[in-house]
Amino acid sequence: MPRNPQLNENGELQHLLSIEGLPREILLQILDTAESFAGVTEREVKKVPLLRGKSVFNLFFEPSTRTRTTFEIAAKRLSADVINLNIAISSATKGESLLDTVANLSAMQADIFVVRHASSGAPFLIARHVKPHEHVVNAGDGRHAHPTQGLLDLFTIRHYKKDFTKLTVAIVGDVLHSRVARSLIHGLTTLGAPEVRVIGPQTLMPAGVEALGVKVFHDMKAGLKDADVVVMLRLQNERMRGALLPSAQEFFKHYGLTLDKLAVARRDAIVMHPGPMNRGVEIDSNVADGPHSVILPQVTFGIAVRMAVMSIVAGN
């Protein structure tokens, strides 16, 4: 059997490419380490010397604000040097291949590549070609995976709910195009969440999604009934132009999270969203700003989770 491309010969995390296929112990190691880093981010001096002298290259072939910024903050809090490359407007447009770009950056003494790419699998390709001391962290590839977002979602759920083994988690919206949903589903099933539901119209549900171990609902209230955690996904506006949805208003009527729909979930349910949110499309402002919402804490936890991931891979 070929080795998991994310692990080194000792079974330690060498690259973070996908939550799928990661053993439970490594997921827990990341979450526990992030818990310690969360303490660092609450101090007066929010920096530790762990990655002093290391260089983190943020390679964003696709636009992103939140993810790129939180990776940058995380790297700086680890005392690494951060270089941001907005490749969408640089070499790639001049015709340089992905591997040539990476080889050039590697010649500039990189230690960690944080990669966001529109093509699924791009970070895997890079990970196969980097030098042994270089590490790749996937910051979102196509529809495939967004493992640090999945991890910060898991961290948030554990923070508020403590134990995964009694939880009902509902993931709502455009599951078909969502790398966030895929990463979170793999994480939840690996950590033993007994019921993971996906809710959305048939046109936005990947074929055979049940095989991931989830229950599919097309009726929002039926799917939200007694849920402990509600994860709303962003409805990507560009999907509306295809024939997948009649209109944003129509989507909101059926699948937008309102206080009325949320009322069928458990009273202490938390509401999450990976951002950026479309208020009035997938989520109502009353919910986004309401007492169940943990959307902003998710962003803060994202820094600690990314600190944990970078410090674990760079040490292996």
Partner: protein, 167 residues
């Protein structure tokens, strides 16, 4: 070889430290053995400031060689370090590298008035200019062995010798 009784050393440290405890005294224990000892000392000395616990994983000097192998515990310093007279507590003092890391981390919380080092056992072998002000006992440890504090399920503290995995 016979190791000293950890419980007796603990009581000896309580007697030694008692006259030193003042209004500005605060205590920090280093995970994991130092934290157990500190919990005991903190209670018996009735120190007013809540106990701080520290895991120095993010300040270690061997990260480049060893990485982050163990899940670090969260450091919690629930008092103001600025101006505090700190008692830094660890179980076994050896190379001094842990204490160097701990002092670096402490200064990221503030500027203490002073730091004194309290250890249950000093096994010599210092690689840095660090010494403890309060030592339970000096213990000779054979090469290739590691001296560790253990806490039994009853809560009793005991010193044990183990094969050193790093050696």
């Amino acid at each position: 070889m016979k190791l000293p009784e950890a419980e007796a050393l603990c009581q000896q440290l309580v007697r030694e430290l008692k006259p030193r405890v003042g209004p500005k005294t605060a205590m920090v224990g280093l995970h994991t053995g130092g934290a157990w000892l500190a919990e005991r000392l903190h209670k018996e000395l009735a120190i007013k400031a809540p106990l701080g616990l520290m895991d120095i994983a993010f300040y270690r000097d061997d990260y480049a060689a060893r990485g982050l192998k163990h899940d670090p515990k969260r450091t919690t310093i629930p008092f103001d370090v600025n101006g505090a007279e700190l008692l830094l507590v660890d179980d076994v003092l050896f190379s001094g590298r842990t204490i160097r890391a701990a002092m670096n981390e402490l200064f990221d919380y503030g500027r203490p008035a002073s730091i004194s080092l309290v250890v249950l056992a000093d096994r010599g072998g210092r690689q840095l200019p660090i010494c403890a002000q309060h030592v339970g006992a000096k213990v000779e440890v054979p090469d290739g062995q590691r001296l560790r504090l253990k806490r039994e399920t009853s809560g009793k503290l005991v010193l044990v010798l183990e094969a050193d995995r790093a050696a």
